[in-house]
Amino acid sequence: MKILGLLGRWFLNSLRDGGRMVIFLSSAVIWMFLSPLKWRRMIARIHFIGAKSLLVIVLTGGFTGMVLALQVFYTLRKFGSEAFLGPAVALSLVRELGPVLCALMVTGRAGSALTAEIGIMRITEQIDALQAMALEPMRYLIVPTILAGLIAFPLLTAIFDLVGIYGGYLVGVQLLGVGEGTYFGQMETYVGLRDITQGILKSLSFGLLMTWVCCYKGFHAGYGAEGVSRATTEAVVLSSVLILVWDYFLGSVLLVI
């Protein structure tokens, strides 16, 4: 009976939190259209989420492509199909690994910092100060961040894919001896615009997910250093889990349509 009670409480709390998150996002969307955009803040956020994540994206993208080429090459060789290394690497990156790994890396690097920053603003009453000045925090803090996520994620994913394909080229062509023409030629044949669009759609949705969750958690951070620390952990864990879960469902839908 006690376990049932605990389960019920957990379910109701989750439902309440989910509802609050949806209201938070709806409010942000309304503010996007209600008032002029704070361009400077949005550009600063793009710089923070995008430009400052470049190094980590180039590194992870490059090594993902390299390890992918290595593993796929030996698998394809068993079937005498090494010629398909290029499309295999490119399709895996463009459709799946690029958007997902890029989103997870950016969540770890920028998402945690976003939550901590907004959380500290909350506990030091900076958000209250904005409201006391009759300035809407949604407009100043949340809308520019969500829009920056929507812009930065597809760009970062494109860079991740590009560097990954080049990493695959280094291993496949330069190290394992696949012909350069074969690597890129087959890629041109098998990778279509539809695959790229799918990847972009995924990265857009991940950008929204990450900024939404991280902003919400920061905005509702509890008291003191512990509250901010908890909010940051929850933001990174929830964003990462939601990215993977959403990836599966979106991926399934995109494959069917």
Binding site: Q126, D128, A129, A132, A134, L135
Partner: protein, 248 residues
């Protein structure tokens, strides 16, 4: 000017305000005293519109503010200046930019006029040459003074101070009090100040109200509070651990 009627507020079942009644007259400095956790800051947040009461009314010049929404409420908020406990300065902006922030966001003043106004305010709070510093680079006392300058930027009619001297040394406490008094005389705003600084606040207050167990137990001129016969007020002012107020 401000009238608080029967204000009630609870958080997750815990009753914090249990029917606060209080009036603030135009141009006066009202100091609210009381133990930590008695709801003084909660009361201020109701005046700022950051919290909505469970029951009761707040009237400003006869207008009920707890029901105001949107633009009407924003217009009312512009009559307020707020000095938060820790200053609540924006970390990413310099002292100058913090003070200029409300002007840049809420007015269409040319940059030169903004600059002039901000420099005047920084001079008034004794920080003429500190405008380029970030909040993290200045002392606690300086942060409070920048916060005070920012609160006065929009020439508010009512300034709310949430423990403006907490964490400062006694000399700085008196310096901040003197600054508030000086600016009050020059600018002529109405001030509601939450403070623990006893007996220092008796030197700046026109009236003092004591909040205890969610209600105002006594309000009056500083002399009346200082020599109050109410045992709760007496114990709080003398700091006696024995009496009707039990230490936690």
């Amino acid at each position: 000017m401000v009238e608080i009627r029967n204000l009630h507020k609870s958080f997750e079942g815990q009753q914090v305000l249990r029917g606060v009644n209080l009036q603030v007259t135009r141009g006066e400095i009202l100091v609210i005293i009381g133990r930590s956790g008695e709801g003084k800051s909660v009361l201020l947040k109701h005046l700022m519109g950051l919290l909505k009461p469970d029951e009761g009314q707040i009237l400003i010049d006869g207008v009920e503010i707890t029901r105001l929404r949107g633009r009407e409420f924003d217009q009312l908020r512009q009559r307020f200046g707020v000095v938060f406990q820790g200053g609540a300065l924006f970390d990413s902006l310099t002292a100058f930019e913090n003070v200029a922030f409300p002007l840049r966001e809420k007015t269409r003043l040319p940059e030169e006029a903004i600059r002039e106004r901000v420099l005047t305010l920084l001079k008034q709070v004794g920080l003429s040459d500190m405008g380029h510093k970030y909040p993290a680079e200045v002392s606690g006392g300086m942060r409070k003074r920048v916060a005070l300058a920012r609160a006065l930027t929009m020439e508010p009619q009512i300034v709310l101070f949430d423990e403006p001297t907490t964490g400062l040394d006694p000399i700085m406490v008196n310096a901040i009090h003197r600054l508030i008094l000086d600016l009050h005389r020059r600018v002529g705003f109405t001030a509601v100040l939450v403070s623990h600084e006893i007996p220092e606040i008796f030197g700046i207050a026109d009236r003092v109200a004591m909040l205890h167990q969610g209600v105002v137990v006594e309000a009056g001129p500083p002399e009346a509070i200082q020599f109050s016969t109410n045992p709760v007020v007496r114990q709080f002012i003398t700091g006696d651990p024995e009496g009707p107020i039990q230490p936690d």
